[in-house]
């Protein structure tokens, strides 16, 4: 990413390529991912088959899209606990409009996008206006959305799910964009994997190469300092919340078009998986430091570990235990490296 300066400074010790690498927040997670990958490739047969790869990439993809957006937000110093439920809310809005009111799917998607952005902007606006921690504000939105999801679904359908998307007008074209598969080596991969890559690349470029990215680091690292040099803190943070909401809409759309039905309590609890993937990827909970690629890799670790355990055919009673040990191992293995980074960093 960065080219070394003409370093002939006697105050610099060893050339320090390693130290330079170590400074990148995502390095730790990359090593962790390699470890998990190697482990399951050796331990199980199916993990490395194209079918296997397709499965764990699929699992990681929607998580990854959200983790990347959440990572941006965390770099900006905020949390969004409503992100998980919002994936279900957007799917519900789309599904209700398309199946009950007979809207064209594309129109329904547009409407749910507007809805998602409204929620995101509201989150951001509340956080900035009230000065309350985003943890509390978005908790409120989280609970409110959760209630709305269930209440509205039951009101409209009498059940706790909305289904029947497949017969809605415009399903085929929208489904192609969000939920089709493409074939590599005879195996079908879901298009959500491409979305994930796209989102990661875009987020990475924005974060590292644009003014907005610079502001994101600044408002997360020290909002008063950023304000003092003229960074529009309010707008930046609101935009970050809106970005997260947009990602939630994307994932919601992928889900509703792929599964053609959506359950009212979907998405609950996933918000923490997003945060966890971002933190594994090197984001600081306190803001101001992190990377989009790291978050994507964090999601990959999650996906690989989750599916790897299934492939390894371990008793699924102990699933969480394996997952916990796996995660700890993945973050501990590069601990020496990370500490070195810490040491260099401050």
């Amino acid at each position: 990413m960065t080219t070394a300066p003409p370093a002939t400074d006697e105050r610099l010790g060893s050339p320090g390529l390693l130290d330079r690498l170590v400074l990148r927040p995502e390095i730790g997670s990359l090593l962790g991912a390699l470890l998990v990958f190697a482990f399951f490739s050796v331990v199980t047969e199916r993990f490395l088959s194209t079918g296997g790869v397709a499965t764990w990439l699929d699992d990681a993809s929607t998580l990854g899209i959200m983790a990347v957006a959440v990572a941006l937000l965390m770099v900006g110093g905020e949390f969004d606990l409503s992100a998980g439920v919002l994936t279900a809310s957007t799917a519900l809005v789309t599904a209700i409009l398309a199946t009950r009111l007979g809207w064209n799917v594309w129109l329904a998607l547009l409407a749910s996008l507007a809805f998602a952005l409204a929620v995101g902007v509201l989150n951001g606006w509340l956080v900035m206006r009230t000065g309350l921690p985003s943890f509390i504000v978005t908790l409120g939105t989280f609970l409110a959305l959760q209630g709305l999801n269930l209440g509205v679904t039951r009101l409209v359908t009498g059940t706790v799910q909305v289904s029947g998307m497949r017969s809605a007008e415009g399903y085929a074209s929208a489904g192609f964009l969000f939920a089709s598969t493409f074939t590599i080596g005879g195996t079908a991969f879901y298009v959500s994997i491409l979305w994930w890559v796209l989102v990661t690349v875009a987020a990475s470029v924005v974060l590292l190469r644009t003014r907005f990215g610079n502001w994101t680091f600044a408002v997360g690292g020290s909002a008063p300092a950023a304000r003092a040099v003229g960074v529009p803190v309010f707008r930046t943070k609101v935009a970050l919340f809106a970005t997260t909401a947009f990602a939630a809409w994307l994932v919601g759309s992928i889900n509703i078009l792929r599964f053609t039905s959506v359950q009212a309590n979907q998405g609950i609890g996933l918000e923490f998986q997003y945060i966890i993937a971002a933190v594994i990827g090197g984001c600081l909970l306190t803001g101001g430091f992190g990377s989009a690629v790291g978050a994507a890799v964090g999601a990959l670790i999650f996906g690989m570990a989750r599916q790897g355990i299934v492939y390894a055919n371990w008793n699924s009673d102990w699933f969480q235990l394996f997952l916990g040990v796996m995660l700890l191992a993945a973050v501990l293995v590069n601990n020496a490296l990370r500490r070195r980074a810490e040491r260099v960093r401050r």
Binding site: D58, Q146, G158, T159, Q161, S163, F259, T260, V310, Y311
Partner: protein, 313 residues
């Protein structure tokens, strides 16, 4: 809706309930608290709730439905109902020990209690009026037996909420009824991608699996996708119904759906409590009132589909 002086209903299972009730209603309106251990938004308990509220609407009974999957907090909800002085309590007893004190307190406070779903063998001991429903394990057992009949040898039972006692009882029952090899798989119901991916992974890993038992219609649909994705020949069976599942049954993707007729588990207790208050009737004679299980397969799916659509099956 409270009229009709000739309340001569017998204590049969005639539950049509329109216009029943007694003129000499002792304390006016009846308020019943229904407290289940289902998590909010659970498909099974949604139907129970619909049953209870429908009965309430038809009988002029106020029904408050609340639920909490944590046994302790379910007990607190019972305490809450007692302190509100409701006219009757309907409670599901997945965890009878945890509810013992609260239910007994309710009985002591003179509130008639009816237990539903599981907990039939402890129901009477706690002083409940009656039990409606059936142990989850029995339903599981019959599902297992039916799969066995279909000639399946290796079963994968998908638990979509780790540690949920009801789901575990279903799988344990299936193990007993099936006889062959049964393995369980934990998935996260809130994450549809994860559900499909994990079932697919399990099918790819163990190619001998020829039957998948889902415990939730949403999971069933994912299981169908997973079976296709893994190019497996496994048959899918499920608990409960939704529009997608009825479609899949018609299409032959799902073998059958276990229907516990849980609508009755919500509906009947309201009727029973109303009868008990107005006419001191009891039902079941100390034996549990069984609601199921029934099976929905190709033969009867057309008939049931529309009920499932509106959330009563």
């Amino acid at each position: 809706a409270c009229s009709g002086p000739t309340a001569t209903n017998t204590d049969s299972t005639n539950a049509d309930g329109t216009g029943t009730g007694a003129a000499q209603a002792p304390t006016g309106d009846l308020r019943v608290a229904v407290i289940s251990h289902g998590t909010a938004g659970d498909a099974f308990w949604n139907v129970v709730k619909n049953g209870a509220t429908d009965a309430g609407r038809q009988l002029g009974v106020t029904v408050d439905y609340n639920s909490d999957g944590d046994p302790g907090r379910q007990a607190t909800l019972v305490d809450n109902a007692v302190s509100q002085g409701v006219g009757g309590i309907v409670v599901s007893m997945a965890n009878p020990d945890a509810l013992k004190t609260s239910v007994e307190n309710a009985v002591k406070a003179g509130i008639p209690v009816i237990t539903i779903n599981s907990g039939s063998e402890r129901s009477a001991a706690f002083g409940a009026l009656a039990h409606v429903g059936q142990e989850e394990s029995v339903a599981g057992e019959q599902a297992g037996a039916k799969l066995r009949e279909a000639g399946k040898a290796t079963l994968l039972c998908v638990i979509h909420e780790a540690g949920n006692i009801g789901l575990n009882q279903r799988c344990d029952g299936a193990r007993a009824g099936f006889g062959g090899t049964v393995s369980t798989l934990q998935v996260d119901i809130n994450n549809p991608t994860d559900v499909e991916a994990r079932i697919k992974g399990a099918l790819q890993t163990d190619t001998s699996v020829d039957a998948v038992l889902a415990l939730n219609p949403q999971v069933a649909v994912s299981a169908v996708n997973a079976v296709k994705g893994a190019s497996s020949a496994a048959a899918v069976a499920t608990f409960d119904l939704n529009a997608d599942v009825t479609g899949a049954i018609k299409a032959g993707d799902v073998l059958f759906a276990v229907d516990q007729q849980q609508y009755e588990q919500g509906y009947l207790p309201i009727v029973m409590l109303k009868l008990y208050r107005d006419n001191a009737n009891t039902v079941g004679g100390g034996k549990p009132v069984l609601t199921g299980p029934g099976f929905v397969d190709r033969s009867n799916v057309d008939e049931v589909a529309e009920y499932a659509e509106r959330g009563t099956r």
